[in-house]
């Protein structure tokens, strides 16, 4: 029973990472109409930024500043490259562009910080189990869940109540109309892209605290994040969030019974979902088609 709880809890943590990645991806997929293959690379980049500024700012400072730095790189990428492709209807171009960028970013990380994995120190106050029976509930893991909750809550609040968030949502449903109403959609898309990268950055630093840094750390998270979006439904941020948690939990629970199947199970869930309910949990019919 403890083993099951242990794995389920692990799955939940994993699911929180998936959900954070999926939220960023879904944001960018929505307004920027871009499958951001470089999302994993941006995530790793933020983690390495955190690693570099750690001695000066400490963990807490790095947690705030490093995602912003990564978002700065995202700003450059969006304004100089991704933006040029919005007028091309075929999604292949942004897909291949971000794929190429992912290769470049990963190679740069490898060149600058080295190919070996590095640890990222986490504050001592977070680094011990809270109970003896449930040894796996460490402060850090609860902290991960907490940060995921807070940042997701903040995102939904921004989208719901702030002017920019309302514009992002309006742009998702009809970009031409809000452009005609005088909204600078280029600026809006840039901001949206940067918010997406911010989420990748937060996920990256949290993941680095748990598993350490390595240049390919994004690879193992980006695919499940895609699956989370498909399961949750394209076009629904809440769906992506749920999708991430569901596949994380499922993968954790399956680990208890058949460790070898823990990765495959998320694709099975996706397959079943596609057959039973092709638009996903909360997806809108006919979006992006």
């Amino acid at each position: 029973m403890v083993l099951l709880l242990f794995n389920a809890f692990n799955g939940l943590i994993q699911g929180a990472f998936y959900a954070l990645m999926a939220l960023g991806l879904a944001l960018i997929l929505g307004l920027n109409a871009t499958i951001n293959f470089a999302h994993g690379a941006f995530m790793a980049l933020a983690a390495y930024f955190a690693f570099t500024i750690f001695p000066y700012t400490g963990f807490w400072g790095a947690l705030i500043i490093a995602p912003l730095l990564a978002a700065g790189v995202g700003f450059v990428v969006e304004t100089t490259m991704v933006r040029r492709l919005y007028t091309r209807k075929d999604p292949i171009y942004t897909l291949l562009l971000t794929f190429g960028l992912a290769l470049i970013l990963q190679d740069m990380i490898r060149t600058i910080w080295g190919a070996q994995g590095q640890p990222l120190a986490i504050p001592a106050m977070l680094n011990h189990p809270l109970s003896n029976t449930y040894f796996f509930v460490t402060g850090y893991r609860l902290f991960v869940v907490g940060v995921a909750l807070v940042s997701t809550g903040a995102l939904f609040a921004v989208l719901r109540f702030s002017r920019i968030g309302i514009r992002i949502r309006a742009g998702n449903s009809d970009l031409e109309t809000i452009a005609a109403l005088g909204v600078n959609i280029y600026l809006l898309r840039t901001i949206n892209f940067m918010i997406g990268i911010l989420f990748a950055g937060v996920a990256g630093i949290l993941a680095a605290g748990q598993l350490g840094l390595n240049p390919n750390m994004g690879d193992s998270l980006i695919m499940p994040a895609f699956v989370a979006i498909v399961v949750g439904g394209v076009g629904s941020l809440l769906g992506s969030l749920l999708g991430g948690l569901i596949i994380g939990l499922a993968s954790g629970i399956v680990t208890t019974f058949a460790p070898a199947a823990s990765e495959v199970v998320i694709y099975v869930i996706m397959g079943v979902m596609l057959v039973v309910r092709p638009r996903g949990l909360l997806g809108q019919e006919g979006l992006f088609e």
Partner: protein, 343 residues
Amino acid sequence: MSTPSSLSRTDAAATTTNPKFNRRVIGNLLLGLVLIAVPFWLPLVGGYTDLASRVLIYALAAMGLNLLLGFTGGLSFGHAAYFGLGAYGVGLMLKYETHNIFIALLAGTVLGGAAAALLGPIAARRRGIYFSMITIAIGQMFYFIAVRWNSFTGGYDGLTGFSRHPVHLPGLTLPMGSLDFYYMVLICFGLGAWGLWTILNSPLGHTFVAIRENHKRLTFLGIRTQRYIAISFAISGTIAALAGGLDAMYGNFTSPNVLEYTLSGNFLIIAVLGGMRNFWGPLVGAVIFILVRDYVSSITHNWMTVIGLIFVVSVLFFPLGILGSIKDWRALISPRIREQDAP
């Protein structure tokens, strides 16, 4: 007054169709001759035969992908799955079942093709970005199966312990060295290209192109577009599997890398770089991609950046690909060429 002019116009149309057709046939024959002669001229320019085999294998896979991508309008980011299934099919057959490389190749192709035929209809339920995301995820599933099913597939380390055995024909034995293998790859490439060419010039192929051009309209006309996309998916996966089978024999080795999405991305960029609206585009793309990768990885550790730059530059500045851009420049000079659409 009007009759002669209209007559002469149809005449002109007739004479322009036929030479166009002839030019293409002659062009294809010339290409065939150049490829047959590769072992004779490639060493003279500093290449080696295995490199040509690799180019043709990648070109075949990308041409298979391009049936779906360039001619049906389905952006699959998961074709490495079928390529890899072909490779594992061949490897496992040669290791456990048979020493006949042709039976193994057939088995690998059938395995990958069957997977594409089964999974195509699932992916074809959606279109556009959604379709791509589903194909990516399906592809990754096979990657994890190959990694996790250690006892059968060799896990991360890959599958070894098989080799291409000599072929015994009545009267002669082919040792299947680099040279023999190149011709085997070339024959498979020729068969695949011929098959694709035939399909694209058949009503089926015209349906594919029509789906790419205007999906909605075909649906209104009562065409079951999902079914046709699934057919295109299956054919394209089969060709990719054939290429994957050859790839396993190329190095007598296969690993989960051939199933990973990175390889799918490479196939896509090969098609786009060469020109995804052109029949021979993927071949041109493969020549450039493989040669650049081969050369750059021998001179710098940062070859991944160079590959990434190929992606970025070709997407930003050559969206039509090399053959597409050439056609565009020629169309500026002679408007007649603009009417041609490959193949």
